[in-house]
Symmetry: C2
Amino acid sequence: MELTFAKFSRENNLSVEDICRDFYLNNRETIKIKKEAVAVKNLVTILNTTLRLSNEMGFQSMTLRDLSRESELSMGALYNYFQSKDELFKIIHLNGMKLITNILIKQIEKESDPDQKLRKAIRIHLYLSEMMPQWFYFLYMETKNLKKEDRKIPIESELYTERIFIDIIEKGVESGTYLNREPLMTASIIKAMLQDWYLKRWKYTKRNVTVDHYALFMIEFIESYIKS
Amino acid sequence: MELTFAKFSRENNLSVEDICRDFYLNNRETIKIKKEAVAVKNLVTILNTTLRLSNEMGFQSMTLRDLSRESELSMGALYNYFQSKDELFKIIHLNGMKLITNILIKQIEKESDPDQKLRKAIRIHLYLSEMMPQWFYFLYMETKNLKKEDRKIPIESELYTERIFIDIIEKGVESGTYLNREPLMTASIIKAMLQDWYLKRWKYTKRNVTVDHYALFMIEFIESYIKS
DNA sequence: GTCTATAGTGCGATAGAC
DNA sequence: GTCTATCGCACTATAGAC
């Protein structure tokens, strides 16, 4: 019995609250608010509102006045949680990447069989993006807002998750599970398919394509190439 | 003998100049410059510079002062060619879409055999994005800058080119060339792969993957699913 | 046809009252 | 801990000289 989205989301509670509490505890010196409960609650509001507005209009187009209005926190209040609009961007970017990568790695290291591992990695990635669509969309579409010195972060992240798929496929080739048909290119294309799921969410929703259907299709598609 | 990029680019001269002349002739009343040669020359500079800067920093982050400096045209001169920054965006967006779609359709209607048609459509799309990478990147990544009433334009465009692939595959299913394995989903995934080529250009360049290699890989990958 | 100078707006960020 | 009021600045867009 393969993993389903319902099962995965039941067992994995990915609350923005956890991200915010982590961030708060690691940055007590720069955040001016001293009560944890208040700080975490407002951080959750700020992050969720920023993600929503960025998804609608882009981070650059969103003004802090928009954020203030929509989050129902004054401009002054907002600036107790971050030093600049730029820093707000980096908070979301870095913490989002960290969270996603951590879960992905932790989940797939449980499997050892290449076949099962590849299927699981695909499903976990799809299910994560299904649970936090705004985060994935933000991380993909808003990299342009990073300063030059930070541009390497998303690049490394792209190559890192791709590397996970390359390794699985190469292990499968060694063990004879898969044919030796361009593991690097295959991994690239897997990433492209995973990204299409959250980048074109509107299309698949309209067509009533569920994430489980998409996962199954992806697996069949890829396996028909590396197994046939 | 299948089409190659070298052959395609030799036979198809996609100059930005053609786009600009078309645009100029269709908008003589709003463009204040009366000499065609001057207008087209400056329009080419404006469009190329805008595309370059948008690819580097995003259209929203690019100020008209940046564009003025980099294009070596004064702010006043720029405003002879468009009415607002918003209009400049739409000029690039609409004319780029039109050009790309026109060439794609014209090229593939020459083929009648589904098998050849699918291969050709894939190659033409890849080769077009190889010849105008900045345009494709712009059209994909900058849709957020469209006003709400224009958001349907890129959506229709996405569905339109996808429809081309759906039709080819369905014809192939009817004629027995392809198996009947989810033509709609297959077309979606083809689009995702085509997009990955120009969205992750940095990655493939670094790995010395040529567009012809990518095309061949894509074709083998897809055919192993719909033919095996 | 292109320039410089500037008007007018709305932004990010902050100071200080409560 | 949150608010309002406001500063200084950089932006889009334009007017008028050349």
